[in-house]
C-alpha cells in the first residue's frame, strides 16, 4: 500500500486536484521555511471535521497545548503553544499545512509533534498502550484529516 501511495504522489505533483491521490508521509515536499503548497489529497478540507479533530484527545488534541477562543466550549485548553486566534491572518494555507505535517520544518526543535510522519522515532509505541509500535505505524492524522485541520485553521481570522 505504501508503494502505490508513493507512485500516486509522484504523479500528483503539479497536477493539482485532478488526481485525488494521497501524498505519502515520506513524499511531502516542503518549501524553504517548512510550508507545503500541495494539498495532500486534492480533496478540499472540511472545517467542521477539522474542528472535531482539534479537540479530540486521540486525534489532533491541539487544544492540549493551544488555546483557541472559538473552541472555548471544550474544557481544558493548554498554554504550551501560542494562542491560535487569528492564525489565518498570520499564515498562508501552505504554511499551516506544513506546520501540521511536521512543525519541526517551520520551528526547528519545537515541542509540537509532527502529525504526518511515520518513522525516525525513538522507542515509538502503539498509541498509549506502552507496547512497541507496529511496523506500519500510522501517522497521527491521515492526509485528509490534515486537510480538514488546515481548513479549520483557515477559519481563524480576526479580519
Amino acid at each position: 500500500m505504501k508503494r502505490t501511495v508513493a507512485i500516486a504522489a509522484g504523479l500528483a505533483i503539479g497536477a493539482g486536484a485532478a488526481f485525488a491521490e494521497e501524498v505519502a508521509p515520506g513524499d511531502v515536499v516542503f518549501g524553504e521555511y517548512g510550508s507545503v503548497e500541495q494539498s495532500l489529497t486534492g480533496v478540499p478540507g472540511d472545517p467542521v471535521a477539522g474542528e472535531a479533530l482539534m479537540v479530540n484527545r486521540g486525534k489532533g488534541n491541539c487544544i492540549s497545548c493551544h488555546e483557541v477562543t472559538a473552541l472555548m466550549e471544550h474544557p481544558f485548553h493548554g498554554e504550551v503553544g501560542p494562542i491560535l486566534d487569528g492564525a489565518a491572518d498570520r499564515w498562508t494555507e501552505a504554511d499551516l499545512r506544513g506546520m501540521i505535517v511536521n512543525a519541526k520544518m517551520t520551528f526547528p526543535g519545537t515541542i509540537m509533534p509532527a502529525f504526518y510522519k511515520v518513522d525516525g522515532f525513538i522507542r515509538p509505541g502503539d498509541a498509549f498502550t506502552s507496547r512497541p509500535a507496529p511496523a506500519d505505524l500510522p501517522p497521527l492524522l491521515t492526509a485528509q484529516e490534515i486537510e480538514d485541520v488546515v481548513a479549520y485553521l483557515m477559519t481563524l481570522s480576526d479580519g
Binding site: 493548554g78 504550551v80 515541542i111 522507542r123 509500535a133 505505524l137
Partner: protein
C-alpha cells in the same frame, strides 16, 4: 477560600488567564506543625537551564497541598503504617525482621536522601528497592518483592517518611558519574511518536497547563507519592513509565538500568529540595 475560587475558575472559561499557583507558591510546607520542608531553592550548579528548583507540591492546588501537611490527612501514611508492622515482623529462613538489624525506622533517616547511590560491592548504582531486596534475600532469606508490589512501595514510603525535611543528598561525582550521565542523556531524549523529552515538559514548560494538567518540574523528592487518581502510592519508576507512555512511546521496564540511571539524574535535579515522601499528588 482560595480553593473555591480556583474551583469556579476551573468550571468557567477564565481558567487560562488565572495564575493557578498564586496561592501555592506563597505557602510553606510544614508537616504536623513541626517538620519544615524546603520546597523551593536555588538550583544545583549542574543545572544549565533552571535557576530555581521547586517541589511538585508548589504546583498543586491548596486543597491537595493541605492533605500533605498533616499525617492524619495524608492517605499515604496508611501505607507507611502497614510497612511499620512489616518492619517489625520476622520473615524468612533466618528468622530476622528489618528491626532486628536496623532498630527503629527513624534510625534509617540518613538513607533516603542519598538514594539512589553507588554500591561499592555490587559495582553499580542501587535504589531503595534494591537495598530492600538485598536485605530480604541475603540477610532474612525471605523472598524478594517485585519492584512495583504493594509491600515494596509501602516500605520505600516508610523509609522516605522518616527522612522528611532532610535535604536531598545524592552523589553525582565519583563512580556514579557514568550512570548519572546516562540518566541525563535519557532525560533529554525525545521519545515516542510525539517526540517529547522529559525536558520538553518539565524544564521548558513547567508551570504551563497541558490540557488539564499543571506541569511541574517533575521532581522526585516526594516519591513514592500518594496519587489521588490511583488512590494508592506509586513508585517513581511507575511515574517514569506513565510519562514515556504519554509520548506514545514504549517505556523502559521498572527497575531497568535506564530507569535507575534516570532516577539518579532526576534526584540530582532536586538538589536543594527536601525529602517529602509520601507526598500527595493528583
Amino acid at each position: 477560600m482560595k480553593e473555591t475560587m480556583l474551583k469556579s475558575a476551573v468550571c468557567g472559561m477564565a481558567l487560562l488567564a488565572l495564575p493557578l499557583t498564586a496561592s501555592a507558591q506563597e505557602a510553606e510546607l510544614v508537616i504536623n506543625g513541626e517538620i519544615e520542608v524546603t520546597t523551593e531553592a536555588p538550583a544545583a550548579d549542574h543545572m544549565d537551564y533552571i535557576r530555581t528548583v521547586r517541589s511538585g507540591w508548589t504546583f498543586r492546588t491548596g486543597e491537595t497541598q493541605a492533605l500533605q501537611m498533616d499525617d492524619f490527612d495524608n492517605p499515604g501514611m496508611l501505607y507507611v503504617e502497614q510497612a511499620m508492622s512489616v518492619w517489625n515482623t520476622a520473615e524468612g529462613e533466618a528468622g530476622e525482621s528489618c528491626a532486628s538489624c536496623h532498630g527503629a525506622p527513624e534510625d534509617m533517616a540518613d538513607v533516603r536522601p542519598t538514594l539512589p547511590k553507588w554500591n561499592e560491592e555490587a559495582g553499580e548504582v542501587w535504589t531503595a528497592e534494591m537495598y530492600i531486596n538485598d536485605c530480604r534475600e541475603n540477610r532474612m532469606q525471605a523472598e524478594a518483592w517485585d519492584w512495583n508490589s504493594q509491600p515494596m512501595r509501602n516500605m520505600t514510603a516508610l523509609l522516605s517518611s522518616v527522612s522528611r525535611g532532610m535535604p536531598i543528598d545524592v552523589q553525582i561525582d565519583g563512580p556514579a558519574r557514568e550512570t548519572w550521565e546516562l540518566g541525563k542523556e535519557i532525560y533529554y531524549t525525545r521519545y515516542g511518536q510525539l517526540e517529547l523529552s522529559c525536558a520538553n515538559c518539565h524544564e521548558d514548560n513547567y508551570d504551563n497547563l497541558i490540557r488539564a494538567d499543571h506541569l511541574s518540574q517533575g521532581q522526585s523528592n516526594g516519591f513514592p507519592t500518594y496519587r489521588l487518581k490511583n488512590a494508592n502510592i506509586v513508585s517513581l519508576h511507575n511515574r517514569f513509565r506513565g510519562c514515556i507512555r504519554d509520548t506514545r512511546g514504549e517505556p523502559f521496564a521498572l527497575g531497568s538500568p535506564e530507569f535507575i540511571a534516570l532516577e539518579l539524574y532526576v534526584a540530582s535535579r532536586g538538589l536543594g529540595l527536601d525529602v517529602e515522601g509520601p507526598a500527595v499528588r493528583n
